[in-house]
Subunit: 466 residues, 2 copies
């Protein structure tokens, strides 16, 4: 059978695929650091070549105001077959702190059944699995069961600032029935998860300046407001003591979770013990009226991603620093408007700012949360694909992270989405990011089943999802 032949191809080519993936991972495509711009472009080039070799058509890099979008398609499945848009991102996170890595982040290496490299789980191995599933079908059957469009982003880790204008300007090119994205994590290796909601994100930087240079604390201590102290005062004021965000209006538009949905989320296994093992943190923190999993996925948050000012080296240096700052990001849930939240943060920090220092707030990126019907045809196909390809029935869930482009696709293309993570936590955004080799094969096979079931699902009886 066509399906089995493609699955066999995918399984039997794992060594070749791993070698290919390693070449892709060797490219340090860090989008947030401008001196890695050439590497980001090399990653786009690598994808373009790979897509061409697989047998996709119209393979091209489409320019944006930032990094190019890599596009390709295969549209010969017929007018009645659904069209699916595959999204992924070829840029990766920075690597600091570098000395915490056991092996260099851009020298992929397998240890204990895991492939270690920056960007392997977030997101190179995951969208690579779709490419190899398409290759398996094209190389064995010479065709695909559905129409496929590929859209690979080079700026996801900086908030995809140029993808919304790109999508708006290319609505016909990108038109599809569904968007599929394999990113993020399932909760357990044997428990796939399909997320029907993602949090939005707004990132901002607060800069506090005071004296015109670092001052000797013996000469000016006591009569100059210290910017490091001032930034601490501002950051400390962002939360109430009980963990709630203190920005006025922050919760105004947040939906109350329905009892039905709270029951649904209760089914996702996430224990205090698991939290403890994963984080190593000494005690629980956050909004005690909500479960851990609700706090993680269905509640908005405000995080300090970084704080700095003055001397942080060995020993001590008795100065009043000239400036200090903090990087803040807020995770949003549905109905919260990113621009409104950004304005609330800005206004609040400006209100907190004392006249004794200068305070600036720069909003850097924003994206709304996204939610999709959890009984769509694509989600049904994904359900069956995990059962056949992964050997486990998935859970319906929410994701705590953000994929700004999902909200953009919904808003501009009106397209429901299906999120099919193949990874685990995998130290994404942390040192020693990795990906289980077993997940590489299972992901490719599951993707083959997904495209197959998507072609037939429209005529099937809907699966029971709750």
């Amino acid at each position: 059978m066509v399906l089995e032949t493609a699955v066999t191809y995918a399984r039997s080519h794992q060594a070749v695929f791993l070698e290919e993936l390693c070449h892709y991972l060797e490219i340090p495509s860090i989008s947030t650091l401008s001196h890695h711009r050439a590497d980001v472009l090399r990653a786009a080039e690598w994808l373009q070549n790979n897509l061409t070799r697989i047998g996709l058509e119209h393979v091209q890099q489409i320019e944006t105001a930032g990094n190019p979008v890599v596009y390709a398609d295969w549209l010969h499945a017929g007018a009645d077959a659904p069209t699916i848009l595959v999204y992924g991102h070829y840029d990766v996170q920075p690597v600091e702190p570098l000395d915490a890595w056991t092996s260099p982040p851009f020298e992929p290496v397998v240890r204990d059944g895991r492939l270690y490299a920056r960007g392997v789980s977030d997101n190179k191995a995951q969208h690579f699995s779709h490419l190899k599933a398409l290759e398996a079908m094209l190389k064995t059957a010479g065709q695909l069961p559905v129409n496929v469009k590929i859209c690979f982003d080079g700026e996801e880790e900086v908030g995809s600032p140029n993808l919304a204008p790109f999508v708006a300007a290319n609505q016909t090119l990108l038109a599809a029935d569904f968007v599929v994205i394999s990113d993020g994590a399932m909760h357990q290796p044997d428990q796939p998860t399909i997320d029907y909601a993602l949090r939005g994100v707004v990132a901002a930087e607060i800069r506090v300046t005071g004296p015109n240079r670092d001052l000797h604390s013996g000469s000016y201590g006591g009569l100059v407001h210290n910017p490091a102290q001032a930034v601490a005062e501002i950051v400390a004021a962002l939360h109430h003591a009980d963990g709630r965000v203190a920005i006025p209006g922050f919760y105004d538009d947040v939906n109350t979770l329905s009892p039905v949905e709270r029951d649904l989320l209760q089914k996702v296994p996430y224990s205090f013990r698991q939290w403890q093992t994963e984080t190593g943190a000494p005690a629980a923190w956050g909004e005690s009226a909500f479960t851990f999993f609700e706090r993680m996925t269905a509640r908005p948050t405000c995080e300090v991603n970084g704080i700095w000012g003055g001397f942080a080296g060995e020993g001590f240096k008795t100065i009043i620093p000239a400036e200090a700052g903090a990087k803040i990001s807020m995770r949003l849930v549905e109905n919260q408007d990113a621009e409104k939240i950004a304005a609330q943060l800005t206004r609040f920090v400006e209100q907190l700012a004392p006249p004794t220092v200068n305070v600036n707030v720069m909003v850097q990126a924003g994206a709304a949360a996204a939610v999709t019907p959890y009984d769509s045809v694509a989600i049904q196909a994904a359900f069956r694909a995990y059962e056949d390809g992964w050997g486990a029935t998935p859970l319906l869930s929410r994701g705590g992270g953000s994929l700004p482009i999902v909200a953009t696709f919904q808003k501009l293309l009106g397209t429901p989405f299906v999120l099919m993570p193949f990874g685990l936590d995998d130290n994404r955004h942390s040192p020693n990011e990795h990906y289980h080799l077993a997940h590489l094969e299972k992901g490719m096979v599951t993707a083959v089943y997904f495209y197959h079931h998507l072609a037939t699902a429209v005529t099937d009886k809907p699966v029971e999802v709750i």
Copy 2:
């Protein structure tokens, strides 16, 4: 006359002295950075050679548990002549932020009548001025008017942790009638200042740890207490909104300033305009019940010298950092006990520490404040030396900075001190540290007069100092 000949020698050798000083300044003797240890030792070696060439005796480096003390003496002025101990320090501050320097910190260069280099004002040029005054007298008269002992420290910028044990173990070697120290700043080029009090200092580091690694804020935001937020909360709690330090007991042992002393300090010119020009800060801050100058010199303070945690690079990185920290220093006034204050800080931070993170406080250095009678023979000699050598009558004042060794000398040797600054603010502890060439010559000449007047002051009528 002997005195005039020495002064002429000092004036006519400025070009040679400048070149010598530049060689000394080229040595990056940063004591707080362990990888500069060899440079610190080179600076000691340089001093040893220079002292020998000048004609001092018993020149030696005396080992301590840290950097060596450079010792020398000349004791042929007779039993009736006073003995003066000259203290200075050959170590310097770190240079960060390096990119804020107009010229490299260890490549001394003259621009607009100023010599730019790290450590030039704090403290190399200032103690060098004493050495060249001694050279001027020895090379012209073949003798000194008083007995002189030299004690140059290599750890002043890290709180002189090994000098107290050194002094305790060498009380006979160091025994003297007075200690003279030229460090710190006069307020105006034409207005020398003699400080009769210095603030003490206690430095500490606060470290907050939480999760076992940097976490993805999308996966854990909302259910892990963020160490960067926690350190901000702790730092923000160190002050009340009115600028007073919030550490319980902090002010318990602080003396009320007498009306006489407040009048004395009023004579030191320090205007809001001067504060504004020097600092560039947007508005005044601190304890409003005290004048700027009192806050700067006679009141204890608590400063954040540095704060850090998470990502501070270009762009953004949505993490919850695994750890964060802050460096704190507190300036103390007389009667405040450094160990007691350190314990109060530690206890307060431990009380503030929530169970959701791990908090450690490490006290790094401590020294009491120092105060000396402002009508001593040595202060009288310094008064007349400034009048003759600088051409201006000095003001009696307090200093806001700290020289831990002064308190040590008082405690262990019972020696009154005289502080004769030759520098200005000079960006000490900041980028672009510099020293006015005019002050180099005036400092050397004033030092020649000082040693001369010290020999005769004991028989003179006391000068009116208030």
